[in-house]
C-alpha cells in the first residue's frame, strides 16, 4: 500500500489530501473548509503566494489528522508543479520538497491538468478506455482523448476564453457576483433557456471552442434589451455554452471510438452540463463518468491519484525540479 500526501496550490485553492494507492481518498481538505481560514481574515488565496503560505500548514495538518496519519506513515509527498501562478505554485512545491527532505520520502511533481483527468478514477478505477474527456474550468477548456492511462491526445481547445471564464464574466456583468458559475447555474433553473438564441461559437466545426463572441453577444443583447429577465438571460447563456460543449464531446467520442465520456474541471460542477452529458452518453450507448462536484473543482486528492500513477511509472521527481507556470500536458504525438 502506498500512502501519499498531496498538495495543490496552483490557483485559488489551498488544498491537501491523503490518498492511498491512487484510488482511496483518506482525506481531502480545501482551504475554505478549514477554521483556520477565518483566522486569516477570510482572505481567499488568489494571487498571493503569501495567502497560500499562511494557510498551507493548517490545511496539511488537517488533512493528515482526518486521515489519521503522521509523517512516518507516508510513502511520498506530491504537489502540483504547474501550470498555475508561479508565486502560488512555489508555496506548495517548496513545502512538499521540505516534507520530502524532513521525512526522507520521495517527492512527486504533478501536472494540474493530468490531475483533473485522474479525478475520474475515483468514480471508476476500471474506466473503459479510450475515453473522451471534457476538461472545463476557469482557465482551461480542452477536449482530450484518454487513449490509455497516462496517454492523452488533444482533440480541441478554446481559441479565446475558457468556458468557466465566460460564466464568471457574464455573471459579473449580470450583477450575480463571484464565483459566477454556481450563481448562473442556480438562476438558470428559474429561467427559459430558449428565451434568447445566443450564438453557438464554432458549432459543427472541428473540436475547438470559442466563447468570447458569446460573452460579447450577451453584453450587447442585455444593453439593447434591459427589460429582459436576468434568469432568462442566464439560462439562455448557459444553454449556449452547454450545447456546444455537449455537441463537441459527443462528436469527438464517436470519432475516436470512445467507450466512456468523462468531464472534469470546475465547470463540470454545472448541473445542466452534468445532466446533458449523462443523457448524451446514454443515448449513444456509452458510459458517462461524472466525478462528484468536490472532485471536479480544484482539490489535492486528484493530485495524489496522479502522483501515485506517476511515481510508479516515472519514479520520484528530482528535488531540483522547478515549478513551471506554463507546464503543458504531455500529449501523444
Amino acid at each position: 500500500m502506498t500512502t501519499i500526501l498531496a498538495i495543490e496550490t496552483s490557483c485559488d485553492e489551498t488544498a491537501a489530501a491523503v490518498v492511498e494507492d491512487g484510488r482511496l481518498v483518506r482525506s481531502s481538505v480545501v482551504s475554505s473548509q478549514v477554521d483556520a481560514h477565518a483566522r486569516f481574515g477570510g482572505v481567499v488565496p488568489e494571487v498571493a503566494g503569501r495567502a497560500h503560505l499562511d494557510i498551507l500548514t493548517p490545511v496539511v495538518t488537517e488533512a493528515m489528522a482526518q486521515a489519521g496519519v503522521t509523517g512516518s506513515d507516508l510513502d511520498a509527498v506530491a504537489a502540483t508543479i504547474g501550470p498555475g501562478l508561479i508565486g502560488s505554485l512555489l508555496v506548495g512545491v517548496s513545502a512538499a520538497k521540505a516534507y520530502s527532505l524532513a521525512w526522507g520520502i520521495p517527492f512527486v511533481g504533478v501536472n494540474h491538468l493530468e490531475g483533473h483527468l485522474h479525478a475520474v478514477f475515483f468514480e471508476d478505477p476500471d474506466l473503459a478506455l479510450p475515453a473522451a474527456v471534457l476538461l472545463v474550468s476557469g482557465g482551461h477548456t480542452m477536449l482530450i482523448e484518454m487513449v490509455e492511462v497516462g496517454r492523452y491526445r488533444l482533440l480541441g481547445q478554446t481559441i479565446d476564453d475558457a468556458a468557466g471564464e465566460a460564466f464568471d464574466k457574464v455573471a459579473r456583468f449580470l450583477g450575480l457576483g463571484y464565483p459566477g458559475g454556481p450563481a448562473i447555474d442556480r438562476l438558470s433553473s428559474e429561467g427559459d433557456p430558449n428565451a434568447v438564441a445566443f450564438p453557438r461559437g464554432l458549432r459543427g466545426e472541428g473540436y475547438d471552442f470559442s466563447f468570447s463572441g458569446l460573452k460579447t453577444s450577451v453584453i450587447n443583447h442585455v444593453r439593447r434589451n434591459p427589460e429582459l429577465a436576468t434568469a432568462d438571460v442566464a439560462a439562455s447563456f448557459q444553454e449556449a455554452v452547454v450545447d456546444v460543449l455537449v455537441e463537441k464531446t459527443r462528436r469527438a467520442a464517436a470519432q475516436v471510438g470512445a467507450r466512456s465520456i468523462c468531464i472534469g474541471g470546475g465547470v463540470a460542477a454545472n448541473s445542466a452540463l452534468r445532466e446533458r452529458i449523462v443523457k448524451a452518453a446514454h443515448e449513444d450507448g456509452l458510459k458517462a463518468l461524472i466525478p462528484s462536484r468536490s472532485m471536479c473543482t480544484d482539490n489535492a486528492a486528484m493530485v495524489g491519484a496522479t502522483a501515485w500513477y506517476r511515481l510508479g511509472l516515472d519514479g520520484p521527481t528530482p528535488l531540483d525540479a522547478a515549478a513551471d507556470p506554463n507546464l503543458r500536458l504531455r500529449l501523444d504525438p
Partner: protein, 168 residues
C-alpha cells in the same frame, strides 16, 4: 500622457492587424496596457500581437491563470497578463511584473489601468471603445514616459490611416 493616436477597427481581424503592425516596434522591457469593457477586443489584440511576434501556440485569455508566458521569435518572452480579477494593489504587486520586465520580457496587461500604481510610469496605453453592436471599435493609443515618447513617430507611422469616419 500626450495626445492619443486613434484608429477604427471594423472587426477582430482588423484589430489583430493593428496589433501586428505595432509588433516590430517592441523592445525588451516594454509594457502595453489594454483597457476597455468586456468584449472590447483586448485578448483579440494580444492574439494579433503574439502572432506577429512568431508565437505559434493558441493565445487564450489569461483571466483565471493571471499570466501566461509565450516565447517569441523576437528574442524576448511575451507575458500576457490580466488583472481583471485582482481587487487589491498588493495582488498586482505579487505578480512580480518588474522582475519579468528586468529579465527582458514584454508585458501586455489587460485592464492595465488598475496596474499603473505598481508599474514604472513608462508604457503604451491602448483604450478600446465599442462603437456599435456590429463589432466596430475605436482604439486610442497613448504614450507615457520616455521609452514610448521616443517611438511616438514610429507608432504613428505604422498605424493605419483612418479608413472611415468615426467619433473623434
Amino acid at each position: 500622457m500626450t495626445e492619443s493616436l486613434g484608429v477604427v477597427c471594423g472587426n477582430a481581424t482588423e484589430t489583430q492587424a493593428v496589433a501586428g503592425a505595432i509588433a516590430p516596434l517592441l523592445e525588451p522591457g516594454d509594457v502595453i496596457l489594454l483597457d476597455g469593457d468586456l468584449g472590447a477586443g483586448k485578448t483579440t489584440f494580444t492574439q494579433g500581437l503574439a502572432r506577429a511576434l512568431g508565437v505559434t501556440e493558441v493565445v487564450t485569455s489569461p483571466t483565471f491563470i493571471l499570466t501566461r508566458i509565450y516565447p517569441t521569435t523576437s528574442g524576448f518572452d511575451l507575458v500576457h497578463v490580466d488583472v481583471y480579477r485582482l481587487e487589491r494593489l498588493s495582488e498586482v504587486v505579487d505578480l512580480a511584473l518588474p522582475e519579468l520586465l528586468d529579465e527582458g520580457a514584454v508585458a501586455v496587461i489587460e485592464w492595465g489601468q488598475r496596474a499603473v500604481p505598481a508599474l514604472a510610469p513608462d508604457f503604451l496605453q491602448v483604450r478600446f471603445a465599442l462603437l456599435d453592436d456590429e463589432g466596430e471599435r475605436q482604439l486610442s493609443f497613448g504614450t507615457v514616459g520616455p521609452r514610448w515618447l521616443a517611438r511616438r513617430a514610429d507608432l504613428a507611422a505604422v498605424l493605419p490611416r483612418p479608413a472611415r469616419s468615426g467619433p473623434p
